[in-house]
């Protein structure tokens, strides 16, 4: 989020004993993990397991009830840390501002912080939109975009900040398989190009195993398995196995007639 910090390399993230409750319901029950600089770290788990809440903590949108989050060893709860490091998030819905065009959305960070002159901002916006395959979408409104295009526009908006840590909340939800592949490829390309640290929350198994350096499996507010993709696939934890092997097997009533 810093306006002046210009190096691109990713940061490390350390989560220690993170706890969070809403009313009387404990959503995060002591989360511990570490993400290395430049790593793609996927947090996988069923719906309602606390993945998105965890992600909001990683960018300072939610204050923890207990535990701490360290970015390059510095506490995220300090305003200075939020100022020092550039953190970005791609929301599940894209969260593009509907009152602005796609181009204005992408350039919003630069315009509001007055980091560049307008002509340079226009060039950067075009470049970022080209990077995500939306070169012609600058003048469109978010309402005119498909789900996949919204996600890619949100990625372009995140890229403008030249982030050191980028968080993705369910980046392939509501997308058709082809659009999901495109988004997955964008995440990989971004890592290759900038070395950014990526934390991806998803229950999409194909995406997780396709892009992850390491995967953490979260269930009922706890990390129950963590490691590289192969290790997770071989996990003997019954919850992990049930999730990985879940398949829709429905029989049409007409078959029984």
């Amino acid at each position: 989020m810093n306006n002046n910090n210009n190096h691109h390399s990713g940061v490390s993230v350390e989560v220690r004993g993170l706890r969070k409750s809403f009313n009387s319901q404990e959503v995060l029950k002591g989360i511990d993990f570490e993400v290395k600089p430049g790593e793609i770290f996927v947090i996988m788990g069923p719906s309602g397991s606390g993945k998105s809440v965890l992600l909001k903590h990683l960018i300072g949108l939610e204050p923890p009830d207990g535990g701490e989050i360290l970015i390059n060893g510095e506490s995220l709860q300090s305003e200075q840390t939020l100022e020092k490091y550039r953190l970005a998030m791609v929301f599940q819905s894209g969260a593009l501002l509907n009152s602005l065009t796609v181009g204005e959305n992408v350039g919003l960070y630069l315009v509001e912080h007055r980091l560049k002159p307008p002509a340079e901002i226009a060039t950067i916006v075009s470049q970022k939109l080209r990077d995500v395959g939306l070169a012609d979408a600058a003048e469109k409104t978010p309402a005119e975009l498909s789900g996949g295009m919204k996600k890619r526009a949100a990625i372009a908006r995140a890229l403008v900040t030249e982030p050191q840590l980028i968080l993705y909340d369910e980046p392939t939800s509501e997308l058709d398989p082809l659009s999901a592949v495109v988004v997955g490829e964008e995440i990989l390309k971004l890592k290759g190009r900038t070395g950014v640290t990526s934390v991806v929350v998803s229950h999409d198994r194909d995406l997780a195993f396709g892009i992850a350096d390491r995967i953490a499996f979260i269930s009922e507010g706890r990390i129950i398995a963590i490691g590289p993709s192969d290790e997770i696939k071989k996990s003997r934890n019954p919850v992990v196995q049930k999730f990985l092997r879940a398949d829709i097997k429905l029989e049409s009533p007409s078959k029984n007639v």
Partner: protein, 248 residues
């Protein structure tokens, strides 16, 4: 309730602290100002014309019957300037603009647009609340000046056209000028400035606090309008007391 009041005071204070940034947000302020004026001007004209007309219609025949025809212009002028225009226009704006503000900010909150602003280190108070509050605080007093003039005109038209009153235009305005001083108009305009801040703070606060999807947005809009109107009527009494004491 007290928690809400505390939050609103805090929101107002933070917006006040952000006032030096208003120049940077001038385009947004101008857009909001245009929207408020554009959306409300015709309605303001219609409403204030008929309020002035009804005031003349209600008081005129009674006063003429008691040989007090010269008081009609003063009563209409005084009531419009000090009470009817600021309060009625504030209620109109709470309904038209306050509801729109609560709905827009509420949907931005529900669909995570405000969270997105925060992740970009853009303060939602600077980006969303400040332009709306400044635009409203500038627009409502202007609309009230307009409403006062149109209301006076409405009263004058009825006073002349109605057979039971039959006071000529010139006589109506001459009586009005004798009673209504510039300070009375300034009082009404000051009241409307205070009401604009109330509407802006209440509506933006409701929008920022929205939870729970479309139903939550609907709830916020209703609360924004109802709470604004209650606050306007409540503060109107105390403002009137203070302004009357000032005059004495």
């Amino acid at each position: 309730m007290f928690e809400n009041i505390g939050e609103m005071i805090l929101l107002f204070w933070r917006t006040l602290l952000a006032l030096p940034l208003a120049w940077r947000q001038r385009q947004k302020i101008f857009d909001q100002f245009f929207e408020i004026g554009n959306a409300s001007l015709l309605m303001v004209c219609m409403l204030s014309f008929f309020i002035g007309a009804v005031l003349a219609l209600q008081t005129g025949p009674v006063l003429v019957e008691r040989s007090l025809a010269s008081a009609v212009g003063g009563i209409v002028g005084y009531a419009m300037a000090k009470e009817m225009a600021p309060v009625m226009m504030a209620i109109l704006i709470a309904g038209r603009i306050g509801s729109a503000m609560a709905a827009e900010i509420g949907s931005m909150r529900v669909y995570q647009e405000i969270d997105a602003l925060r992740t970009m280190n853009i303060n939602p108070i600077h980006y969303l609340v400040l332009p709306r509050l400044v635009a409203l605080a500038a627009a409502l007093p202007m609309l009230v000046i307009f409403a006062i003039l149109v209301g006076w005109f409405g009263g004058a038209v009825v006073a002349e056209a109605n057979n039971q009153i039959a006071i000529p235009f010139q006589a109506f305005y001459s009586d009005l000028r004798q009673v209504v001083k510039l300070k009375d108009v300034a009082n009404g305009v000051f009241k409307s400035f205070c009401f604009a801040i109330i509407i802006g703070v209440v509506s933006c606060h409701q929008g920022m606090m929205t939870i729970g999807g479309p139903r939550g947005i609907g709830r916020s809009v209703t609360k924004a309008v109802v709470n604004s109107i209650v606050a306007i009527v409540f503060f109107d009494y105390f403002l009137t007391r203070v302004l009357l004491n000032e005059q004495q």
